[in-house]
Each structure stands twice: as C-alpha cells, then as structure tokens.
Amino acid sequence: MFVAQERLSQVSNHLSAASKSGKQSILEKHPDDVVVTCALRTPITKGGKGGFKDTAAADLLLGAFKALIERSGIDTNLVEDIAVGTVLAPGGGATEFRAAALAAGFPVTAAVKSLNRQCSSGLQACVDIANQIKAGMIEIGIGAGTESMSTQYGPQAISEFSELLESHTEAANCKVSMGVLSEKMAKAQNIPRSAQDKFAAESFQKAVEAQKQGLFDEEIAPLTVKWTDPKTDEEKTITVSKDDGVRQGITAESLGKIRPAFAKDGSIHAGNASQISDGAAAVLLMKRSTAQRLNQPIIGKFVQASIVGVPPLLMGVGPAAAIPVVLQKTGLHKDDVDIWEINEAFASQCLYCINELGLDAKKINPKGGAIAFGHPLGVTGARQVSTLFTELRRRGEKIGVTSMCVGTGMGMAAVWVAE
C-alpha cells in the first residue's frame, strides 16, 4: 500500500496547490498565516450609569492590555506595533493610548497608533496589524479598541461643516444623524417595527442565555475601577466582570410599548437600537510560524477583510455591501460560514442586511449583539473577534465573519477561521 499512498499524495498535491481559494484552502494551515493567539475584552457597561461610567477610555484600554499580557504570557519586548480604534476621543486619543501602553507594561519600543474608521475602528485596527504582519513590516502586533461614550459622547465629536461641504448634497448627508437615516431606511426598505422588536428581543434573550451559561466568561477580562455612586456621591472601588446592559425578561411585546425616538410614527427606539456603552478589547496577532516558535496557543486566524463605501444616507446597508466582497475575495459561499457576527447598530439595518444577503438567522450573533450589551463605537470590531472565536470553538465550528455598518456610509467585513 506504500506505493498507493505515495501516488495518491502526488495526485492530491496537483490539486491542493491549484485551489487558491474556497473553503478548503482557507482551512489550510500555512506558516505565513496571520493568527490570533489571544483575544479578550473588558465587560461592556451602560453609558452614564454602568460600571465604567467614570473610567477614562485610556484606563479601559490599559486594563485590556494588562489582561492581554497576563493571559497570553507574551514577552512584551516582542510586540512591535499596537493599533487602537477609537471614535470619540479628542485628538484621536493618540497621546493617552501611547501612555496607556507604557503604563500597562509595554516597553518604549512598542509603537502605538490610534485610528478612527467610526464603528469599524476596532476591526480596522486588527486588520491594519494583520496587514502589517503580512507585509513583513512587523512580526507581532496588537489590534485593539477602546471607547468611553460616558465621558466623550456628544456633539463635540464632529466639527461644523464648511460651506463647501454643505453645498455638496452627498457630502452634507454625512452628518445626518444615524437614527434619523436608519428610520428613513426602515421605512424605505419596509422593515416593520414588529420585526425590529422581535429581532431586538431575541438579541436580549440570546445574551441573557449566554450570560447564564457563562459563555462570555472566557473572553471577558474583569476590571477593577473607581466608581461614584450617583445616589450618595461616594467613590467606591468596584470590580466589573459582567456586561451590565443585558436586561432580563425583554420580549417583543415589552419593546412594543417604547416610544419611537426619532419620529412620531417611527419604528426605532432605545430598545431596538444599540446601546451607548463603555469598554475596551484587544487582539494579539502574529504569524503562525512566530506563534509556534514562541509556543503561543493559536485560537484562530485572520483570512481577509473588505471595506466598501455606500451612500451616506444608506449607511446601514454597509454589511450587505461588504460581505459579498469578502466572500468573493476568499472564494467562500455564504453557506460555508458557520457564524456571522454582524453588529446590531440598529435592528432595522441589521435585519435589512440579513434579508438582503439571505443569511440563516440561526447563525447570526448567537450570543446576542450590540442591542443587548452595547456598542462602544471603536471597540466593537475588536470585541467581535473574541466573541466569535470563543463561540466557534465551543461549537466545534470553523469559519466566521465579522461585519458592521460604518457611519457616513461604509461597510466592513472580515473572515476568520477558528482553530
């Protein structure tokens, strides 16, 4: 049989090298794959009320960094670059984040940048690091995200539009409030409130169930912070270890009673849109060969990402535009994907994308999404990585896609493989 074995492997070599894309090829393991060896997040807490309401974005980031260093056991001297996605921090947060990295224990040789691609900043940070590794610019890097919407959310995040921008229709559309345009889109695409409320209630129910089963415990790094009790004004030190935005007992009927937020006859309200939240997340990336050399446990790999623009007024369709692109790039069929982590900015836009792409509802956000536990803007993309990988591994599945719509009209998506 020895000869037969050899002949068979010879022929299969002819075939395996030929398929440059598709499910089989992305499941292959190569030394130059960009892999994730640790992905974690802080809990995500309610803006203005939650456990992190008095914690600065940089402090949240510092906490995530410390946990990442401790859990992964990575030699901090080997980390060459850190990208941090954040949306609201004035000045992009560049100074504080560099300081946070140093305070967390990274040496001065570890570079830090902050970046802002709105709601996909966290994913963009991971993708930037992955691409830097692919290109050979660095060997080990961290993609992260942090956001303190409690302290930094507000009108100051956007400066006034000049006349030049205002006089261009599509440009002026960029500053239309997302709630308003999502409302319009829900109407235009005919997504009734009942469907949105049902979707939102399911998100809560899935998250409650996941919390009960402890499915978030693995990805969450608890964080001890100072917190001022709003009743007594007393400053306490508390340890936050759970997403506190997840509410028990939410049903489509209970959501049905909430008043719409953006239009009297509207369909969008606080219960079927993402919550305002605080949190941070971090993802450690390197080449497979490096991970093996350093004995880092590989939890999955980054395969490919896509970014597309859509009309600013249709910002919510972003995932429906970005996902087909990333599938085409990787040669995957939508049925090859085991879990979709599509950010629930609004139930309306998420539902639209799911229907448009014809995705299997059972595979979408199996542990709930931003409607249930919040959407700290710059964090979500990096948060999805840990949420996705822990769930893929728990189910023994392989391929996942993370995606989100991006303010001002963009969509981003990425393909990941759990190992």
């Binding site: 049989m1 000869v3 037969a4 002949r7 068979l8 010879q10 022929v11 070599n13 002819h14 075939l15 090298a17 030929a18 398929s19």
Partner: protein, 355 residues
C-alpha cells in the same frame, strides 16, 4: 463525438498512431492508477464506432504510451513499477521487450521523431533515460534530480530533448554536447519566472514555483515550447531567449493542467487537458491575423494573461479528471482524442468547439 469505455480502467494517456488515421492507443490503470493492473488498449475507429482491436494487461498501472515511429505495429507503455514495455499488436499478451531501470513510476515515454531509432522515458525517480529498442540497457541517463512528469524529443532535431519536472523547471538537453558534469544539460528555465516588465502594464508580481506536469514542442517553430502544470497556467517559452520569461501566458483552467499538445496543423493552436474535467483549445496569439486584445479592453482580463493568446474552445464532456489528449495527424485538421478518469475515450472535432 465518438466514445469508448475503458471499463474498470481509468485513462492516463491517449495517442494517435502516426501511421493510421483510425488507430489509437490508450494507457489506462485500474483504481485510478493508485494500485493494481494496467491495460494498454489499441482502438480502431470504424464505421460502427470505436472498437478495441487489442489490449495488453500489465502487472502495474500504466501512465503513458507512445507509438513507435519506425514500426507501425509497435508501441511503448510506461509502467508504475518503473518498467517500460514494447508491445507488438500482431502478437498477443506479452511485450516483445521490457526494460527495467527506473527506480520509480515512469510517467512519460516519447519516440524520437527525427532519427526514429531511439526513444526516451522520464520517471519520478528524477531521471530521463534514452533507449534503443534493439539494446537491452539504456544508452544514456540524464538526471533532473526532480520528479520528471514529462520529457520529449524535439520534433526538429534528433539530438535535442526537453523535460519539465516538479521543481518548476523546463530543461533542454543537447546530446551533441560533450559528456561532462552537466550531463548534456544546456538550458534550465524557471517556469515560474514572471514576464519581463512591459510598458503600460503593472509590474508582474513574483509567483511561487509549482509542479510542472506537461510540456510540448511546437511543431512549426523549432524554438518554441509550451509548459503547464499545477498553477493552472499554460506558458510558452522561446528557448532563444531563455531569460526573458514566458512569451505567452494562457489562463483559464480551474485546476492543474495535466497534458498539453500543439496542433500538428496550425502553429499557434494547442490543446490542453486538465483536472478541471475540461479540454480546451487555445491560440498563443502568435498567428498572423489573430486580433490582439486591445489595451483598453484588458480591465477584466486575467491578471496573469500575457501575449494576446486566448481560449478558443472548451470540451466539457468528461465527467472526471482529463489526463490525456492528442491530435489526429491525418485528414481534416481538428480531430482529436481525449481520455480521463471517467473510464472514457472521446474522439471529437476540435473545430466544432472553436469560436
């Protein structure tokens, strides 16, 4: 389209007789050539379809066959056990001669088209051997140090031969050169070399070497060869400019290309057979009058494509890997035969597919 079933045997190679327009030889193997017997079919094209005039069974799988250029009734078979056998179709059962020198599977045999008194074989053991049917031992052994899937004599010179192997190199040997450490090797062309940068085109990116599975000499232009293999691309090279990279790159096959063969009638046309279950006809873009693809229309073209060649037709009737394809030398230019793992031999007119 005519069809013959090689029941129980998966085709590996098909060759038209150089003497009769109605005679075909097919090398086939049981169990996809992994383990078990081989069978060499001699098929006759008759008014009643394709008839098996004779077959010879062998102990091990057969991977290639070649008709003798000197004797109309003799043909060679390349066997998985490392042997080469010469059969005479006027005799039954046993070969008239058998040579056992290769250490591993013999994957190609080819008769010298000019001198007609020698033939060659190439093997997974990393050697090419040259033989005389009258002699019981090989005349020469040329090492390639790499699993050699395909080797051929030049149709223009009795002393020049070529090979492609799994190390992604096209080698040219000239037997007139003095015996030396180079073992008659005169050229070694890396097949994966990207084309030279051109005006108005993006610089080509480097591509990884991949196993070359097949090649063929152009029948009219004595310095032009085509190669193909695992990277799915067919390339043509001009050995007068060995360092210039490919002259033409033809992209389209979806899996590895298993065999290519230039037309005996037209200098720019070649046929390919692939693991993607298709045979395709191509022009390499060298013929006068073939319209060149205009620059502005190249946006949606395959990024690797080069040289203005294009696919002219495709035969998708096979239902498994296509492993062998050959042109009929006689009659109307365009008849060809193909065989594959679907246990079928198909005889078809390539012109019917051309666009």
């Amino acid at each position: 389209m005519l069809e013959f079933r090689t029941q129980g045997y998966n085709g590996y190679s098909v060759k038209y007789s150089p003497f009769f327009d109605s005679r075909l030889a097919v090398a086939a193997s049981a169990n996809f050539g992994l383990v078990g017997n081989g069978r060499l079919y001699v098929l006759e094209l008759t008014a009643k379809g394709i008839v098996a005039e004779k077959w010879f069974d062998t102990q091990d799988s057969l991977f290639d066959t070649a008709w003798s250029e000197a004797h109309e009734n003799q043909l060679l078979a390349a066997s998985g056990d490392g042997s080469i056998k010469l059969f005479d179709i006027t005799l039954s059962d046993f070969p008239v001669q058998s040579w056992q020198e290769h250490a591993r599977e013999v994957f190609a045999v080819h008769w010298n088209l000019v001198a007609k008194d020698t033939f060659l074989s190439s093997s997974w053991d990393g050697t090419i051997k040259i033989w005389n049917p009258q002699s019981s031992a090989s005349l020469t052994t040329l090492p390639t140090h790499s699993c050699t899937y395909s080797a051929e004599f030049s149709p223009h010179s009795p002393n020049i031969l070529s090979s492609v192997s799994s190390d992604s190199h096209l080698r040219i040997f000239d037997l007139r050169t003095p015996a030396s450490a180079s073992n008659h090797l005169t050229l070694s062309i890396p097949i994966h070399t990207p084309p030279k940068p051109r005006m108005g085109a993006a610089a080509s990116v480097g591509i990884a070497p991949s196993e070359a599975l097949t090649h063929d000499w152009n029948k009219y232009r004595d310095t032009v060869l085509a190669t193909a293999g695992v990277d799915r691309l067919i390339r043509t090279f001009d050995i007068r400019a060995p360092n210039a990279g490919p002259v033409a790159v033809l992209a389209g096959h979806e899996y590895a290309v298993r065999r290519i063969t230039w037309s005996p009638h037209l200098s720019d046309i070649l046929l390919s057979a692939s693991y993607d279950m298709t045979c395709r006809a191509w022009t390499d873009g060298s013929a006068m009058g073939v319209t060149q693809v205009k620059q502005e229309n190249m946006v949606h073209q395959e990024p690797m494509a080069l040289g203005g060649g294009r696919q002219m037709g495709r035969m998708g009737r096979h239902t498994e890997f296509v492993t062998g394809v050959d042109w009929c030398l006689f009659g109307a230019e365009g008849w060809c035969a193909s065989t594959g793992w679907d246990e079928r031999v198909l005889v078809w007119d390539c012109r019917a597919l051309m666009q």
